[in-house]
Symmetry: C2
Subunit: 246 residues, 2 copies
């Protein structure tokens, strides 16, 4: 089954990342600098390019978020095995920094979190197989193409995964409004996994119990919570800062 990458930036990123693309399809008449860049990069990569009419184009990608360009990719999103993901920090001579997303259901949030993870230098993202958004084309678009670069593992059981991470020396830091310490007071320089819960419900109880620390983000206004993707971003960039200055 084909997977579709939709949107100019995501298609560009996929080409840059060397993703196995079968064909790049343009809506007839689209133009612009990025379109030209995509065409020349596709040429360089020996990727087929086609221009098709609006009706045909709609049959491939029904939504309005394609910006007139989609890439057809063989197979589904390539999730990586957890074992493979855990080798990445060592290959970069770094202590692992992972993001665990406990049942994020909104594709926009999942995409935004993967995008920020890539920018913050996170090595891998772990999501549960069930009750979670999967990496669809909507997620790829919201991630601005970051799903093409970031190692993402789908696991059956987050609790067991956390136990396995702990055995490998990871510290588990959960973002939780009831946390006692501030998120800026934790140490993210050792091997660390940051856990972000779903927007409505937060981290599930059994997952929370596996966390070494629960940290909170201070709220100075009249709103009870931050968006999950903003909360995750703040923790990931706190980790990035501590690691760059240590």
């Amino acid at each position: 089954m084909n997977r579709i990458i939709a949107g100019r930036q995501p298609v560009m990123e996929a080409l840059r990342a060397g993703t196995e693309i079968e064909k790049v399809v343009f809506l007839i008449g689209v133009h612009g600098r990025v379109i030209d860049d995509i065409k020349s990069l596709a040429l360089k990569r020996n990727v087929l390019v086609a221009e098709i009419a609006r009706q045909e184009f709609r049959d491939i990608a029904s939504d309005a978020t394609t910006q007139g360009v989609v890439a057809l990719v063989s197979g589904q999103q390539q999730y990586v095995e957890l074992e493979t993901l855990l080798h990445i920090p060592g290959e970069r001579n770094q202590n692992g920094l992972l993001l665990i997303l406990d049942e994020i259901e909104d594709p926009h949030n999942l995409g935004a979190l993967v995008r920020t993870a890539e920018c913050a230098g996170v090595h891998g993202v772990i999501i549960p197989k069930h009750h979670s958004a999967s990496v669809t084309s909507a997620v790829a678009k919201a991630s601005a193409g970051a799903v093409e670069h970031m190692a993402i593992a789908e696991v059956t059981n987050i609790v067991n995964t956390i136990k396995a991470l702990k055995e490998k020396g990871y510290w588990i830091i959960g973002l939780e409004s009831t946390g006692i310490r501030l998120y800026t007071e934790a140490d993210y320089r050792t091997p660390t996994a940051i856990v972000v819960g779903s927007e409505g419900k937060g981290i599930r109880r059994l997952v929370k119990e596996q966390c070494d620390f629960l940290v909170k983000i201070p709220l100075h206004g009249k709103i009870a919570s931050l968006n999950a993707s903003v909360a995750g971003a703040l923790a990931m960039y706190e980790a990035a800062k501590q690691r760059s200055t240590s």
Copy 2:
């Protein structure tokens, strides 16, 4: 003309904030704890409540993001005058912390930025009248109701507004990928306005030239930029942190 606040949390926040609501309208059959809370709070506030059938409900709110409840508010979003907004920091005995959004066009981003601003203790948000998303019901929803609490001023000319702020002692910090300093190296404890540009184009040149500092957020991956609402969140929370520890 009536304004509509759509969604459970936004309606709840509007009731809590004492917004002048004419009526809260439920889709027939919706239920749940938040719905009960809205009903009892509306009762306490002497706000009319109605349950209507799906077809009628759709005539009021056509999109799928209402979660079965909307509040009808008299008049448009109450923007505040810049002068009024600038009095808020003094009333709280704080140095001003403002957010200037230079042509953010995506309602989701505008809403997310207002939500984070409220959580980070920002005193007011300044947006341009033209080429910017206005505060619509979609923005209110994306802000999780924060637009009801946050002072938002719409100005004709951002450059002139910045000049006026500088005369009042504000330092202007622009988020810009070409910035030389890191966003964590600037001082946000003095009266400060943080400028965030549009996702595609960044801060406009004339606005950029008015900034006292341009700061960048380090990017450790293969993606060229962060989402505007994430970038703004990182700067706002850096400011909040510096202010809480000084």
